[in-house]
Amino acid sequence: MRLSTSAIALVVGLLINHGALASELPQRWVSAGGALSEWVVALGGEPKLVGVDTTSQHPATLKTLPSIGYQRQLSAEGILSLRPQVLAGTEEMGPPPVLAQIRSAGVQVEMFSAQPDLQALKSNLEQLGTLLGKEAEARALFGDYEQALQRQKNRLVKIQATRQAPGVLLLVGNAGGKPLVAGRDTAADWMLRQAGGHNLATHTGYKPFSAESLAGLSPQVLVFADRALTGEAARAALFKENPILASTPAAKQGRVLEVDPTLLVGGLGPRLPQNLEVLSAGFYPTLSEATP
């Protein structure tokens, strides 16, 4: 079969156009904000990343990239030395004069929202999709996310028909010491509620906990995140540094769950839905698992 020259020309033309479009998309990316960087990677943008901030630790391959430091204390020249075309970050990026300097150097500074809600995530993914040329994938990712959250909601509705939401506290610590309790308006709070827990903390933001107030709260489940340690070591350190926790119903019944602290920074990230499942399982163990 002979391909007509026009057909070849059309195909070639489409290919060239696609290539041209691709080359109009920014190729060199610097990303600031853990969750944001994860979404960039999820949309296949990792090859384009030339630098990330210190909160971008997932996936582990990001750690091999040049570090631009803490996202609130960026260095204009440092970032410019990576010759990026785009600097992506949330409103947590700063300081503002540095961002202005980077903009005036011709770098596209793209702002995303770090609010922990679905609407923000939707517009973030749309924006990312456009910038990466992966609009369809972005829509798909969001769709999946929404569905996962919906499934979670449905599960909760069923469970909560017969069982009460457990009182929960989420503590963020460093090698067990000086833990902060997550209050309202935090990503942690969003997670706890989505997982079907009742956050006993009534304050806003993160606050150090006092032993007395803890005694008054009696959480049935404790969730902890440690910046320095993981697993058994973290759990042991937490109870060693804060013996008062041992007297909580949660500790007595062994209902102490761990979450990855990087989930709590920079808005909603891609790994949240699976972690929600894990949390829910911890909040509502099957009847045969519940201790008498």
Binding site: S67, A76, E77, G78, L80, S81, P96, P97
Partner: protein, 345 residues
Amino acid sequence: MTTLVKPRTLFIGLTLLCGLATWLSLALGPVSLPLWDTLRAALRLMGLPIDAHGLEQAELILGQIRLPRTLLGLAVGGVLALSGVAMQGLFRNPLADPGLVGVSSGAALGAAVAIVGSAFLGGLPDVFGPYVLSLCAFAGGLGVTALVYRLGRRDGQTHVATMLLAGIALTALSGSAVGLFTYLADDATLRTLTFWNLGSLNGASYSRLWPLLLVTAGVALWLPRRAKALNALLLGESEASHLGVDVEGLKRELVFCTALGVGAAVAAAGMIGFVGLVVPHLVRLLAGPDHRVLLPASVLAGASLLLCADLVARLALAPAELPIGIVTAFIGAPFFLYLLLRGRA
């Protein structure tokens, strides 16, 4: 007795050092610019008609980022060193530091109020944002110093020993107030506060630079005129008075210059320590305690030291940046220990 460096030799050496530090600060950075480009961009900035082709990046980096930063470093280093000399003269003690009159802790308090307060208010509009922090820090520094000065005055005289104690007390008080603000701050605000406390020349811009340049020029031109009186003050307040020095007026000037200078420096660049303590010491070791040499030499030495520290801050962890207060502490603290161990400086 250790031979001292002659004033002329010292000034030539320090001027060369300062010039070298300035040049390195302009020529080096995370973005590697070809030297030829840097030179041409510099000449263009000075107004010479040089072909702009291919120089856009160099002009931007040099003109918008490195030059204001270098100027900031020169001014901050110079004024902090001068304030160190002033305080060591006021307290007649070579271990005195500008922070003794409370200006540093007051500025830290002002900054804490601004950072935490604006977070509480949901963030101020950007146009005021950077200025609010500087103004609050400056106001805090001046306010606490004024209070310390007031507490040290009795019967129309300023009692330096009382001022010292008042400074210590108010520093402690400011510290606990900052602690309170730290408690009220959320995680993100806390990190902003921490970074401010470590100091940085980052984000320097011409608009925020000129108040500091004015203050530095003012203090640097004024204090050397009181050099001989400062020398006499070292003999003792009554001895200086017997030599015809207006001691009360001089003390007032020293406190005022320090409050103004350090307040402006801290407002522009956060807390940078050790420069006010270490630089006058170094210069005295080299050239003796005569203020006619000490004051101008300290300006040059302080400016050079800070620019060198900033080079380390910018390059050590590039593309990230070390807070400069860490670098000056790393250099300053061991040096200070060395001075103490060596005995009398």
